[in-house]
Symmetry: C2
Subunit: 345 residues, 2 copies
């Protein structure tokens, strides 16, 4: 009998927030790695907001997960068999292993991870896709200058905390936005934000705007966009001339049922467009998978700062593959504190 593994499949496409019935925990045979592939025992899997998009059946930058297919995502684990010259059994690897205890993956899509260099979970967060997203978007599209003011939401998440820490080190004033007093305290005390606004304390964009304006002491030069919704509506009128908005996500809208007309009635398309025009804004959408060529530069710059403690890391670790759906649903509601991973072993 072939050895067995577990995986979580997409059982249905949600309208709005995913529910438990949209996921199914299944048992399958452990695959045999094909030519050029490695077989990995996944130790940690990543949970990231973009995965919500993969559950939808529509045009996006990546194909949707098919019904019955394993939920996609990055993971880090131990190589247990290898048909690649670049990996041997016992190595640790980061790769697209999905929501699964085991996976066979093309070795060219994987990266070696050395546990001697620090916690292997860093490859999923601060030194992985989310951290790289924050760094790239800030440096390449945000074009930060000392003395400017930056705002980023999800400030204690792996993207926002990277953006805030790198910007602060460059001499910017950093104002975070987060959900709840605990996260706001962490944003300031752990991640060094000059201030952090609790968006849950304001039930409308206007009051939230006033609080952000007060914390900024004026306008905003860089709004690093990863949430959309109420925060975007609050921030747009505060943008300074020649402001920059890198756009890497819009988590508040991911559950909005197709981003239709009712998703956010107060923030209109003409209002966004007008703000872009009259303030000469530069708004740039990006998805980090188009920019892996810059990853070595990122790793060389940020890796040592993580090792030295200059860049702080906070992780939220769920335990057990069967708990991944609940952790993911919580992530979309902002229940996690820090980078969400799932421990599988």
């Amino acid at each position: 009998m072939t050895d067995q593994m577990q995986r979580i499949a997409l059982a249905g496409r949600p309208t709005g927030a995913p529910q438990p019935e949209h996921f199914s925990l299944e048992t399958a045979d452990i695959p045999t790695p094909g030519p050029g592939e490695i077989l990995v025992r996944n130790h940690y899997m990543s949970l990231d907001p973009y995965m919500r998009g993969r559950m939808d059946d529509g045009k996006s930058y990546a194909a949707p997960v098919p019904i019955g297919g394993t939920m996609e995502g990055g993971g880090v684990g131990e190589v247990i068999a290898s048909n690649s010259d670049h990996f041997k059994a016992g190595d640790f690897a980061f790769g697209p292993f999905g929501w699964a205890t085991h996976a066979a993956a093309d070795a060219k899509m994987c990266r070696k991870v050395d546990p001697a260099h620090g916690p292997i979970t860093a490859s999923l967060g601060v030194l992985g896709m989310p951290g790289f997203t924050g760094w790239y978007g800030l440096m390449e599209l945000g074009k930060p200058k000392a003395g400017e003011t930056l705002v980023v939401a999800a400030a204690t998440g792996p993207v926002g905390s990277m953006v805030g820490q790198v910007a602060k080190a460059l001499g910017l004033k950093t104002v975070g936005i987060a959900g709840g007093a605990e996260k706001c305290k962490m944003a300031v005390e752990t991640f060094g934000f000059d201030a952090c606004i609790d968006h849950r304390a304001y039930d409308n964009a206007k009051d939230l705007r006033a609080a952000i304006k007060d914390a900024c002491g004026g306008g905003i030069d860089i709004y690093f966009e990863n949430v959309g919704g109420k925060v975007l509506e609050a921030v747009m009128p505060l943008m300074k001339p020649f402001g920059r908005i890198p756009v890497c996500g819009m988590i508040s809208w991911y559950n909005a049922g197709g981003l239709g007309a009712g998703a956010d009635a107060k923030l209109t398309a003409p209002a966004i467009w007008r703000t872009i025009l009259v303030n000469f804004l530069s708004v740039n959408g990006f998805i980090i998978s188009n920019h892996w060529g810059d990853f070595p530069k990122f790793a060389a710059e940020i890796g040592p700062k993580v090792a030295s403690g200059d860049i702080k890391v906070v992780e939220d670790i769920a335990v057990g593959l069967e708990n991944a759906p609940a952790a993911f649903m919580g992530l979309l509601e902002g229940k996690n504190v820090g980078k969400q991973v799932v421990k599988l072993i």
Copy 2:
């Protein structure tokens, strides 16, 4: 008795489309030029969509015209008195002369125009602010590459026709959008667009989108935005990955009464934001007055092409200051064909 002049003052602030009562034709004394100023007999004044914004009382990139103040705008005319070393009586000058037969203006805000080099109205259109807007936005923000596809609306206007002609010469496929069969014919036959779509032939964005898609033979790399509204809604889903959208105006929304929630219900903010993200778009608002430093480069490149006829010019000339309000109201509805000016002498 001092010699008299005529001017058009802002008599009230419109909600929606301007009406005749928002303008008032007045007689005033011809001013005496102060130190460093020139006195000009205005021969032609320019009418441009941005002037609608100056009629509103709200935050924009420029201060509103005060009630009772002369409507602002560029003009070209003959210097009749000069307190500047740079101008002498008899020179022709372009400057901020407003909707008026005569004006005193700071010589530093004016530019000499040589009638021997071609029609002086060129300084208001093809070799003035609108032409420069099209050229700058295309070259600096559109980043055109041969083989790409460009879409621009108001294709026979002074901005759109410059964008189309420069892009075509660079090897792009150019698809114009204009209102009515006459303008579409002109876009193709005079300005060399590969195709031009009559937006009036489609009463909804979906059908307009199908026509644009068909004309493009695929997606759009550069959408040069000067209209907003239905065209924007039609175009957004057609944008290709890494597409660019320079935003210099949104004439279809200028009369929309403050660009409020009801201005365009079908095109939502989340839909715009999502398109920017999933297609990695670069959206850049700009106003050409921030970029006059590049004007000499523009004039050196485009001036000879206008003189040689490689860049075509179409003007729509209203006659008499008293007809300026009607011509302006028509401009906002797309009634003009080519660059709208008003002949004052």
